[in-house]
């Protein structure tokens, strides 16, 4: 029997490595778009659009990576601008932070024909860097077994009825950042007075969730009775049979945050990203995204959300007229300072 020498062993190992690596190499030859999504059921409309794109361009596929936009920006910064992602869904505050770090490339609206049908309220929130494809509402989610009468305005949260039951998201997420701002605007202060907002939240002694998903879980487990939350998080939880309710709170609001498709600098698939955004703005895609359980807000004129969405999204003429968002350019650039101030107040 022939003895296997080290040289034979190394040669065999190298051959085996090449064979194992070949599918990845071949896959890399095909065009794969990598995007930052939600990392949850909310990715379904994105996956659907990716499938349509793949049918139009054989060999093109979409890979969705879940996670907060802020984490993606940090990764790109760590990679010295060489983004491992082609594009992302991003809210206004994350766009402002990403632009500050210089990791984005402007989306060319002329290459997104359906953008011409956009409701004029939404494009300003993209700050010329992206194209809006949906919007999410920020309201108060509550556990029906713990809260009988949910708040109607943001200031109601400070009523004694809700003492000891309130949850809050950390400000590194867009939701948490919006909450700090709401703490100021609910009491007549400007959005950017986040020190006032933080002090008001401190009065409530809230239980804090690290991100919206963990906050939602705290609500589901009954550790908190109510908290500011995205409408789509609540909708998905309700659809799974949990006893949660959602209050479309006003003064300010109903609050919403448009979600944009943004393109990272140096992507090799710029045209495909534009086409992907265009698919998301097609009537069918908008209707799909507005279905339960996501109830994503539609941004194209004439596409109305289904009846069930009225529990989550502005539906009456008054609500639609008073729909607003946070003054993000004044708040988002201070995210780092707000997170630090938050820790000094809540974690020290």
């Amino acid at each position: 029997m022939k003895t296997v020498s080290r040289r034979d062993f190394l040669a065999a190992t190298a051959t085996a490595g090449a064979v194992i690596a070949s599918p990845s190499v071949l896959r890399a030859q095909a065009r794969e778009l990598v995007m930052i999504g939600y990392g949850s059921a909310q990715d379904e409309p994105l996956k659907r659009a990716g499938d349509i794109l793949g049918k139009r361009h054989p060999g093109v596929s979409l890979r969705i990576i879940g996670g907060l936009s802020a984490e993606a920006i940090a990764q790109i910064k760590a990679a010295r601008g060489a983004s491992p992602y082609d594009f992302a869904v991003m809210g206004s505050p994350a766009i402002i932070n990403a632009v500050d770090e210089g990791v984005l490339e402007k989306v060319d609206i002329s290459k997104v024909p359906n953008a011409g049908k956009l409701d004029e309220r939404f494009p300003p929130y993209a700050y010329d860097w992206g194209v809006p494809v949906s919007f999410a509402g920020i309201g108060i989610a509550y556990n029906k077994q713990m809260v009988a009468n949910p708040p109607k305005t943001w200031a109601d949260l400070w009523k004694p009825d809700y003492a000891g039951k309130i949850g809050l998201c950390r400000p590194q997420s867009n939701l948490g950042l919006a909450c700090i701002s709401i703490g100021a605007t609910a009491f007549g202060k400007p959005d950017a007075d986040t020190d006032f907002g933080l002090a008001k939240w401190k009065e409530l002694k809230p239980l804090v969730g690290r991100n919206p998903n963990l906050l939602q879980q705290m609500l589901e487990r009954g550790e908190i009775g109510l908290c500011p939350l995205w409408h789509d998080n609540t909708g998905i939880a309700v659809s799974s049979g949990l006893p949660l309710g959602y209050a479309k709170v006003t003064s300010p609001g109903p609050l919403m945050l448009p979600t944009m498709i943004v393109k990272f600098a140096r992507t090799a698939h710029s045209d495909l990203v534009h086409e992907f955004a265009d698919i998301l703005l097609e009537k069918d895609s908008q209707e799909f995204a507005s279905k339960p359980p996501y109830y994503f807000g539609t941004v194209i004129k004439g596409v109305m959300p289904p009846a069930g969405a009225a529990a989550y999204l502005p539906s009456t003429p008054e609500e639609i007229a008073s729909m607003t968002s946070v003054d993000w350019p004044k708040v988002a650039p201070n995210r780092g300072k707000i997170v630090e101030a938050f820790d000094r107040l809540f974690a020290a």
Binding site: A79, R80, V103, R221, D343
Partner: protein, 301 residues
């Protein structure tokens, strides 16, 4: 020597597996993925940087970030909390781990197998899964609260999750095997004739444990304590999941500074302080271990 002879000789030496060559791949990997990135990160802690389009365009030497960190009460509180947490976890792991290792020593073959399986099995599961299981157990509607309510001990659920206690419980559970394994390694080499000699000389079981087994286990205790302390002090997942959003330890602080605040210089300084303070405690543990084993080493001379 011809030009082709040198590469040929080098190749033969590499393939022969002699000298330092077997360690070279590990050293290269460690240098590339750990040493160089850490040095780059530390260099950022001592400089003011300007970033444009994701690339550092200017970097000037500065001690500003270090001075700020050393005088900032938030850092002091956070490091104090991390240290308390890590020391408490280490102490509890020693207290819980030593009896298990002792059982391993005195138990029969079956008992030993069971202890080994029970110790190793949790390591085969993801730390995140093990930590999440504590949310189920300690949560408002978890096993502990349900039991206490059913027994009539409490009328409303206790808040256990999202507290320091939940973090300590999770940390001890996650790190206990790391304490037990070095102890088992020491115990499995323990010469039982020493115990018999101790008993023949009139020592009780407790006396043998205290004067024979414990001193001979100091090496394992020191190794386990050093490992558990290091992992607990620098841990990130357990405080994130069990401590709630207003629980900040040094590791989560670094993560937030680098990922969310995008302030690399601050993150680098915090990482440096974490490393230096960790090394200081490890030095104390090593000193104590050496102190506890000095007579063993003296007898081996």
């Amino acid at each position: 020597m011809t030009a082709t002879a040198l590469p040929r000789r080098l190749l033969d030496e590499v393939l022969s597996g002699r000298g330092i060559w077997p360690a070279v791949p590990a050293v290269v990997v460690l240098t590339v993925v750990a040493v160089i990135p850490f040095c780059i990160l530390l260099s950022l802690g001592f400089s003011d940087i300007t970033v444009s389009r994701g690339v550092i365009v200017s970097q000037t030497f500065s001690l500003r970030h270090l001075a700020t960190a050393l005088s900032d009460p938030l850092y002091q509180i956070t490091f104090q909390r991390s240290l308390t947490l890590a020391l408490s976890t280490t102490a509890l792991c020693v207290l819980l781990g030593f009896p298990v290792a002792y059982l391993f020593l005195i138990g029969n073959a079956w008992m030993r197998r069971i202890i080994l399986v029970l110790t190793i099995a949790p390591i085969l599961t993801s730390g995140i899964v093990r930590t999440y299981s504590w949310i189920v157990i300690l949560g408002g509607r978890g096993v502990v609260n349900s039991l206490l309510i059913d027994l009539g001990v409490i009328s409303a659920p206790l808040r256990i999750i999202n507290t320091q206690w939940a973090v300590i419980i999770g940390m001890v559970q996650v790190h206990l095997p790391i304490m037990i394994l070095p102890l088992i390694a020491v115990m499995s080499r323990h010469d039982r004739r020493l115990d018999e000699a101790s008993a023949n000389l009139g020592a009780s079981r407790l006396g043998t444990l205290r004067h024979v087994i414990l001193p001979l286990s100091i090496g394992g205790l020191g190794t386990g304590a050093a490992l558990v302390f290091t992992l607990s002090y620098t841990t990130f997942v357990v405080p994130q999941l069990l401590g709630g959003g207003n629980y900040l330890n040094a590791a989560t602080m670094i993560y937030e500074q680098i990922v969310y605040s995008l302030e690399w210089s601050k993150g680098a300084v915090t990482a440096l302080l974490l490393m230096l303070s960790c090394l200081s405690v490890l030095a104390v543990i090593t000193w104590l271990t050496n102190l506890g084993t000095r007579w063993t080493r003296a007898s081996q001379r």
